[in-house]
């Protein structure tokens, strides 16, 4: 499996994603510019955290118009694994690949800490190495991570099992239904505010995020048709 990590102007977690996949897991992964118009050699694509285009207008709103985006949409539509963390999640919602939107935290603060999450859907290419209902700890670091969708969309997400990660104890940002990460109906596109790529080595204090990437590398054997 060959994996692309997209680098937008203002991305700052691209190296973390690359190192988690390449150095820790030995995966075949390459950085790809936001200007790249051909991702045909890749089997999966990862959108990193950061502040693409300075968060101008809305987080992720300008990145949606990058030259690479039509290729990401194509891969999503073909059922290939597409992953976004933090700003990557915001980009996926702005691009319409995931429903809803991320808005400013209710506290108006940038929240940077490790929080407990419940894994609620283990049938995605990014979560099948976890067990259903398992509680893991992952770092969050964002000012605009409050998930919002209208009642009808929230009901659909719950009914289809599209809520993949939920804040387990406190809700750090005001996300509706305590949502920390969701997937599309098919299950191949996943966006989450927490940073699994920052929790992949015991030496650094936490490896609860490692199985997101292990799951991806073994996802060829997994059916990704939602819950």
């Amino acid at each position: 499996m060959k994996i692309a990590v997209v680098v937008f102007p203002g991305s700052n977690c691209d190296i973390d994603l690359y190192e988690a996949l390449h150095t820790v897991l030995g995966a075949d992964v390459e950085y790809v510019s936001h200007k790249c118009e051909d991702l045909s050699e890749f089997d999966a694509v990862m959108l990193p955290g950061g502040f693409s285009y300075g968060d101008y207008l809305r987080c992720g709103a300008i990145a949606r118009f990058s030259k690479v985006m039509p290729e990401i949409v194509r891969m999503a539509n073909e059922g290939k694994p597409v992953f976004g963390t933090c700003n990557g999640f915001q980009i996926l919602t702005e691009a319409g690949l995931l429903p809803g939107a991320l808005k400013q935290n209710n506290s108006l603060k940038f929240v940077c800490k490790t929080v407990p999450l419940v894994v609620e859907n283990v049938q995605t290419p990014f979560t099948h190495e976890y067990t259903n209902g398992e509680v893991i700890n992952l770092p969050i670091a964002h000012a605009d991570g409050s998930y919002y969708a209208d009642e009808e969309t929230l009901a659909q997400l719950e009914e289809n099992g599209q809520v993949v990660f939920r804040y387990a104890k406190e809700n750090p940002n005001g996300s509706l239904h305590d949502i920390a990460g969701i997937c599309n109906e098919r299950g191949n596109v996943l966006g989450m505010m927490p940073h699994p790529e920052r929790a992949v080595e015991a030496l650094l204090g936490n490896e609860d995020g490692l199985r997101v990437f292990k799951s991806l590398l073994t996802s060829g054997t997994v059916k990704t048709e939602g819950k």
Partner: protein, 82 residues
Amino acid sequence: MTNVRIYVTYKESVFDPQGDTIKQAIHALGHDEVADVKVGKFFDVQLDPTKKDISTAVKEIAEELLVNFNLETYEYKVMEEV
């Protein structure tokens, strides 16, 4: 050229944390008459109405870029000739 001001605000159903915080500060000043505060943003867009109808242009720009309809809504006002 015509200057059009496009106002973007949260929908009524969406919690506006900045507006809520500012309301509390206004109350701290003693203004009990203030019931609510909403924060939004505006864009001053200069456009040439001979090239495209203003309402069509604003609708397209707002809906394709300036507004995220999951959260926000908009209105606009034609300001003056520039």
